[in-house]
């Protein structure tokens, strides 16, 4: 068996902090004598999944979104562990069905609205602590570890995408979707699934119903299904006038 390379160092601080702190089997330290630390490197440099070469997005075809169907909403609620609202004023809603009537023509449509994962997210701009942030691949998230619950992001969001958690939550959370009283949350684009190479739960549910109103994919990849559909058919973004360039786009609205 070939042993991994050995390094002797008196000052761990000379090392890359990230390497030093990377825990578990990739690195082990043993104190041989005071001041002398033995370090072993193994494993491979982990790849970060938030790739700046990608931008994840959704395309929602309003014509295919049936008014009576809310499969995506239930799927999201189940996947991410938020209860379907009993009290619509205070309960969290990561995704919601909206029925629309065109004021000028009377045309009725139905669609789903959630965090639009803007390229220029106002929630990220206004967050005082930096808890609201955008990953390199365009997914907008809340870092609940440093969210102080000021709700300024909710004031800033044009889409009402965010919810504030008004009550205690005890041991109901999914491990990939921590949620807690006093912090703000919203659609994560199922980042845990996306990082594992999957698609968001809402898209999966929509496809399963046969409506096929939602397409998920990489907006920067011209060969992706979503990019091809966007290139071929007209689409729009909600509140396009604000210039936020959302990652979620709508067709036939």
């Amino acid at each position: 068996m070939k042993l991994p390379a050995l390094k002797f160092s008196k000052k761990p601080s000379e090392m890359n902090r990230r390497d030093f702190l990377r825990s578990g089997a990739a690195l082990a330290t043993v104190t041989i004598a005071p001041g002398v630390t033995l370090m072993a490197f193994g494993g491979k440099e982990a790849s970060a999944n938030a790739d700046p070469g990608k931008r994840w997005g959704l395309l929602i075809d309003v014509n295919k979104c049936s008014k009576d169907c809310s499969a995506c909403v239930s799927a999201c609620s189940q996947e991410n562990g938020w209860k379907l609202p009993e009290n619509p004023e205070t309960d969290a809603q990561w995704i919601r069905k909206v029925d629309l009537t065109d004021n000028a023509t009377g045309r009725e449509v139905s669609l789903v609205a959630m965090c639009q994962h803007c390229e220029e997210p106002p929630c990220v701009d206004v967050c005082p602590t930096g808890a609201s942030f955008k990953r390199d691949d365009g997914i907008v998230l809340v870092d609940k570890h440093i969210c102080i619950g000021c709700r300024y992001c909710m004031m800033a969001c044009p889409y009402k995408a965010r919810s504030f958690i008004h009550e205690n939550i005890v041991d109901e959370q999914k491990t990939w979707a921590p949620r807690g009283k006093g912090t703000v949350e919203s659609c994560t684009l199922c980042v845990h699934r996306v990082d594992a190479g999957g698609t968001p739960a809402c898209v999966e549910a929509c496809t399963a119903t046969g409506n096929g109103a939602m397409i998920f994919g990489d907006l920067k990849d011209p060969e992706s299904e979503i990019s091809k559909a966007l290139a071929k058919y007209p689409s729009t973004a909600l509140r396009d006038d604000l210039g936020l360039n959302p990652g979620v786009r709508y067709q036939n609205l």
Binding site: T90, D99, C127, G130, C150, Y152, H166, K181, G182
Partner: protein, 399 residues
């Protein structure tokens, strides 16, 4: 004209009674905070549509009034008006106290008040909120130094003037920051406008001066110190001018917004169909907080009576609360236009006016902030030489 002598206020019966009353309010607020902290914001009237409620109304009123309360000192130090000079110390103390009260309310309403340290250690510099944390902390430091220069023996006049000038610029920046919290919100038609910053500045002039007059008249009366009627009249007239300025900026705000077709909805809501918000706007802000105080202080005979000036100050404070309520709550109650050109309905209150009924804990928290500000002011006057013993017109050089 005798020498101006500053003395601590005595702890007489009335002052002790006032202190006990303030203490009760502060304790009640502490109880409300624990209750809200234990149960979460579900026990408040705030929800996912009205995300900022009554605590923010109180906090913003106090923070805005804080910078305005500093005006008297600025007028004396920066603009060289000597009759205001004996009032400068109280002005600086009251400014810091009001800011402390407002910030206490703001911070204790956070979803995670236990993480205040995070707000002090992690900054996102594209956030006006983060800038404001610097502006608020800086305000305490600068006004503290300013107060020190006023009170220290043998301090050259130039030092006072310099500190006063820095404090004056800083307070303008601070209120600009507070107004911009709203002005920079692109999403909400009730706010997005550069006028929010100057509007908040004139609001601060009016609210701060009104609170200042009330604290000054109360304290001089209960400590039997002289307060010249001409000096008070001068303050009253200034208050009238500030009240008029608030009305002017409010008019410009709504005229501009009305001119934009896309803002027709929100303007109709605030000005005519908004129920409580429309009432608070016209009756609360415009009539009670603007027109009546102006009539009181500019009245040819009644305008010089202390009672009219005190009443005008009370009305400006009440009107100010109404105005901040309309801005903060009214601006959120009107539905966001997420789907322009469509009528929307959903389970998340799209397209409908949002409900908000403030709860008792919220009110107690807000009142606790007011009580804290007044308690700090009173305590400051008790232990420091803030208030002159004789503010008669002859003594302050008021003709």
């Amino acid at each position: 004209m005798e020498r101006m002598i500053y003395r601590e206020i005595p702890a007489n019966r009335t002052i002790l009674q006032a202190a006990v009353l303030l203490g009760v309010f502060i304790l009640a607020a502490a109880g409300a905070v624990f209750y809200m902290e234990e149960h979460g914001h579900i026990v408040t009237g705030m929800n996912n549509q009205i995300v900022w409620g009554l605590p923010h109304v109180f906090a913003i009123f106090l923070i805005v009034a804080a910078s305005g309360a500093l005006n008297i000192a600025s007028i004396a130090s920066v603009f060289g008006k000597t009759p205001y000079k004996p009032l400068s110390r109280l002005s600086a103390l009251l400014a810091m106290a009001l800011l402390a009260g407002g910030l206490a309310v703001l911070v204790l309403d956070l979803g995670r008040p236990d993480r205040l340290i995070v707000a002090m250690t992690k900054y996102n510099f594209s956030s006006i909120f983060a800038w404001n944390i610097y502006l608020y902390n800086g305000f305490f430091a600068i006004v503290g130094v300013y107060l020190f220069t006023q009170m220290a023996r043998g301090m050259p006049a130039k030092a006072v003037k310099t500190a006063g000038f820095v404090a004056f610029v800083w307070r303008l920046a601070l209120t600009t920051g507070t107004g911009s919290i709203f002005g920079w919100l692109v999403a909400r038609s009730a706010y997005e406008s550069a006028i929010m910053a100057p509007l908040f500045i004139v609001m601060s002039f009016a609210f701060g001066l009104a609170v200042f007059i009330l604290v000054l008249t109360f304290t001089t009366r209960v400590t039997d110190r002289k307060l010249g009627p001409k000096l008070l009249r001068r303050l009253g007239r200034l208050l009238g001018i500030f009240a008029a300025l608030v009305l002017y900026f409010t008019a410009v705000q709504h005229l501009t917004s009305n001119y934009w077709a896309r803002n027709g909805g929100i303007e109709r809501f605030i000005l005519s169909d908004g129920g409580i918000y429309t009432t608070l706007f016209w009756v609360g802000q415009v009539i009670i907080g603007g027109l009546i105080p102006m009539a009181l202080v500019f009245h040819p005979t009644g305008g010089s009576k202390p009672a009219s000036i005190i009443l005008a100050s009370v009305l400006v404070v009440l009107g100010g609360f109404a105005q901040v309520y309309v801005i903060v709550i009214g601006g959120q109650a009107f539905p966001l236009d997420t789907f322009p050109g469509f009528t929307a309905s959903s389970s998340f209150a799209d397209g409908v006016v949002h409900n908000y009924s403030p709860s008792l804990p919220e009110f107690l928290l807000g009142m606790g902030g007011v009580a804290l500000a007044l308690a700090i002011t009173g305590f400051g006057m008790k232990v420091l030489r803030i208030l002159p013993t004789n503010l008669s017109d002859a003594n302050v050089g008021q003709q």
